[in-house]
């Protein structure tokens, strides 16, 4: 099993997470900030991960209601309409078992605890970069 993580950290941006598997990994980016959307999309795309972007928790829930499924959800915390905690709770209540990684600038313990308890599998403080994304991907169980 090749060590994709090590190659990425060594600067190999040609690693394709989708290549050795029957289907590509699919990710959902949930963030209201356009810069973070662009950043997360590019990080994922550079790893060969198919990605879809929505602007708040409500849209994340809606996209699942329409039947779409993802291996990985990158969930921001502070968003209008519905925040990351509410969205995570709702998705888990719907039976969604995708890997959900909280990605937020917050470091106040109380809010992170609540975020974790909503049903996260992982948490990374913003801003996201390659090493952090690789760390998250190691938690992804590609069964979708």
């Amino acid at each position: 099993m090749e060590d994709i993580g090590a190659r990425i950290l060594a600067g190999d941006h040609q690693v394709q997470y989708g290549q050795n598997q029957r289907t590509k990994i699919k990710a959902l980016v949930v963030d209201d900030n356009m810069i973070n959307q662009a950043l997360h999309r590019t990080l994922l795309r550079n790893l060969g991960i198919e990605n879809h972007v929505v602007g708040n928790g409500r849209e994340a829930v809606d996209v699942h209601c329409s039947g779409r499924r993802f291996d990985l959800i990158l969930m921001d915390l502070d968003m209008p309409v519905m925040n990351g905690i509410e969205a995570t709770k709702k998705l888990r209540a719907m039976g969604i078992q995708s890997t959900i990684a909280g990605v937020s600038s917050r470091s106040v313990d109380e809010n992170i605890q609540e975020f974790w308890e909503a049903g996260l599998d992982d948490y990374q403080q913003k801003p996201l970069n390659f090493p952090k994304l690789v760390s998250i991907l190691q938690k992804v169980n590609h069964s979708v």
């Binding site: 900030n33 950043l39 600038s105």
Partner: protein
């Protein structure tokens, strides 16, 4: 000869942005995402940043004219601006955002107004420097993608 000089100039200008504290490591992370498939990624992010910041600064301006001040609203706008600034590596702007939020937390209106003026100054300076830098990069031609020497 000319190309070498402009390449050197670009490198020196770029380094000064870090040395003078305008940018931090996050900017380097953005540069590393730039490649042949995405040759203008960093400048595109910068353009998004100007747009986003301009909108938030306007909102803050208006909110600071209200009386009494709505510190919750001010903090909310500043949280967003801090988020964008962090994502692009705008070190000094980010520091002003943090200071502003501290004043919101303690309900210090005067502190907020003062810090906001400073923030606008820092943001304006950064924007001018980045615009000048990207112009240099563009003028040097497509092969001059500025990257950290490996």
């Amino acid at each position: 000869m000319e190309r070498n000089q402009s390449r050197r100039q670009i490198a020196v200008t770029r380094q000064s942005l870090f040395d003078q504290g305008f940018l931090d490591e996050q900017f380097v992370q953005l540069e590393e995402l730039q490649d042949d498939a995405n040759p203008n990624f960093v400048e595109e992010i910068a353009t998004l940043y100007y747009r986003d910041s301009s909108r938030l600064i306007n909102n803050l301006e208006q909110a600071l004219e209200k009386s009494p001040l709505d510190f919750n609203k001010l903090d909310n706008y500043m949280h967003q601006l801090k988020g964008s600034s962090t994502s692009i590596g705008a070190k000094k702007v980010k520091a002003e955002c943090t200071q502003f939020r501290e004043y919101c937390r303690t309900g210090n209106g005067e502190g907020c107004v003062r810090t906001f003026q400073q923030l606008k100054k820092e943001y304006g300076l950064l924007k001018r420097k980045l615009e000048a830098y990207f112009q240099m990069v563009r003028q040097a031609g497509p092969s001059q993608v500025a990257c950290r020497p490996k």
